[in-house]
Point group: C2
Chain length 344, copies 2
């Protein structure tokens, strides 16, 4: 199976359309031309299916909906604590949990006492830090291609590595089963570091089979179809597909953090957009766990927490007439739509 | 195999002789009689082998040596950070690492950059906290009796549980092998929650076989022989046996913490005594990880850190003419003694 190396160590990928456009001014010319081409091709794809997910769900034309989604819950306590506080403040309205991580039990406990919380599973197949690590939920003997010589998940997936899609499926099912056994009833599934999105058709199909078996929507957006055509060909008419995603990237300097999100919100396209954010508290634990590099580190996560729990963010939503929606709400509306008789 | 339930949830057991004696004043009468009997029987055992380990190693008669030993490194960052700081301040002179825990890689990194540090392995078979958990290093399929339904190590070992000694040995070897592969060259082995000491001959023998195969001393003291006779019968003439151990217990109120240790040091018996302590920083991470109960919790560990890095502790060592010794030094002296021709 062919694996493509993530552009950045963390493997956070598919670039959102909107931030790309915002970053054009600081981009060298050849890259600029390339980006315009990519944006152009994706825009053409949009034109081919003009209806947004919001349109399909019966919202008035032009409706802008966002999921404000915190990733990586369960990884450290500092991430859990920030996410729980942000969820309760009501601006972050969705999140997903890393089942193999040591702090997952804290989030399982939270999920049991907050059954209304919109919590999915952040299916995890890598252990990308250096001083703090974790491994599979499935027995290691059953998923040998997923672990390094010390039985942790690989730090990264190198180009030469053979990641076995059957083992991936075994591990994904083990993660869902542990979550269910521990009282978590996920509203959706997504993929840590987008590994299941960007690593070829075999892994995406394994992801999709697991999602279908548990009747759960997966986080996938039309933004990614151009770069990964197998996404569109594997998805069926019963699958929810978001319109866009926005996530901040290492090119954005700390002092431009709020500006990036403000621009993203001011330029938001109609439809359903997931803001993939990484709140966390910049404390001893998180600084130690992420100290080998600044990307998605403690200060980064504190900046995300600060912006999305700010009055500025709330005010912008009101000013721009942006509504929030959860995965649970999306799934219910989708179910109603699918159950309705087809228009004549 | 018969398992005895720990007297306290944490399973920290064999009571040290010295603190028992110190605590007699607050003990109800029947328990007092029982304790006097136990102390008496252990004292008789001492009389039967009057030579202390210090005597056997050639120290002058009456020499008092202590290992100031920090447990549970690798469990959380707050424990690692406190232990590393205390090791570098030079009063804590030995420690052991929990290989299955998520913060073990941080300690492996420290061990590689501090090859002189006296670091053993704190062999771990339980995951005793609630919100923060870990599981085996060996493949779960090979150690099914050691894990709960969610594939974590058991929270506790219940009386009805069948812990398979062969699986224990498999897991112990996996922990040693991971440590070696990650650059840790342990000076000794000990057992988290004394599980391998207090759970019967089969488990102790498995522990001993692993120690012998890797040519490592294990932490065992003559204090424990009376309550666990299989210890003495399994140990051979080549095994190092400490004279005493001191560890603080939940009966000691926080305000008496320093007093307990001061009394223990003032009443220290000749020979080699290991002070089993649990330093840690009372911060967000450790408070969250241990919040379901105070025993061996964040405040407890901060108190241990504070006493053993205090000037009061240093002064007491000088006043009482107590010397410190490490496991590495003990093993070297023992090796020299074993290599020497027997006296005619």
């Amino acid at each position: 199976m062919k694996l493509r190396k993530p552009s950045e160590l963390d493997g956070r990928l598919p670039r959102p359309i909107l931030p790309d456009a915002l970053l054009l001014c600081s981009t060298p010319i050849p890259m600029l031309i390339f980006r315009i081409l990519v944006v152009g091709s994706v825009l053409s794809a949009f034109l081919a299916s003009a209806q947004t997910l919001a349109d399909q769900l019966g919202f008035p034309a032009g409706t802008k909906l966002i999921i404000v989604h915190a990733d990586d819950l369960g990884e450290t306590h500092a991430v859990n604590a920030a996410a729980m506080k942000a969820l309760e403040s009501g601006t972050i309205n969705s999140a997903s949990l890393m089942v193999p991580c040591p702090w997952f039990p804290e989030m399982a406990d939270y999920a049991k006492s907050h059954p209304e919380a919109d919590l999915g599973l952040h299916l995890t197949l890598t252990s990308e830090r250096v001083y703090y690590r974790w491994g599979p939920v499935a027995s290691i003997d059953r998923v040998p291609s997923l672990v390094d010589q010390n039985a942790y998940f690989h730090h990264d997936w190198e180009a030469h590595q053979q990641i076995n899609a059957k083992e991936v499926e075994t591990e994904l099912r083990a993660q869902v089963e542990r979550a269910l056994a521990m009282g978590v009833h996920p509203t959706h599934l997504d993929s840590h570091q987008y590994r299941l999105i960007m690593s070829g058709k075999d892994l995406f199909d394994a992801f999709l089979r697991v999602a279908h078996d548990y009747h759960l929507p997966i986080f996938v957006t039309r933004d990614w179809f151009a770069a990964n055509p197998y996404l569109q060909s594997s998805l069926g008419p019963g699958d929810i597909v978001l319109d866009h995603t926005v996530t901040i990237e290492p090119q954005v300097p700390p002092q431009k953090w709020a500006e990036f999100y403000v621009n993203a919100l001011k330029n938001l396209q109609p439809g359903v957009t997931e803001f993939v954010i990484h709140p966390g508290f910049d404390d001893e634990e998180l600084r130690a766990a992420t100290r080998e590099r600044a990307t998605w580190g403690a200060a980064w996560r504190q900046r995300d927490y600060d912006f999305f729990t700010s009055q500025q963010f709330r005010d912008l939503l009101a000013q721009q007439n942006i509504k929030t929606i959860t995965w649970r709400e999306l799934a219910r509306l989708w179910q109603t739509k699918m159950a309705a008789p087809a228009p004549r």
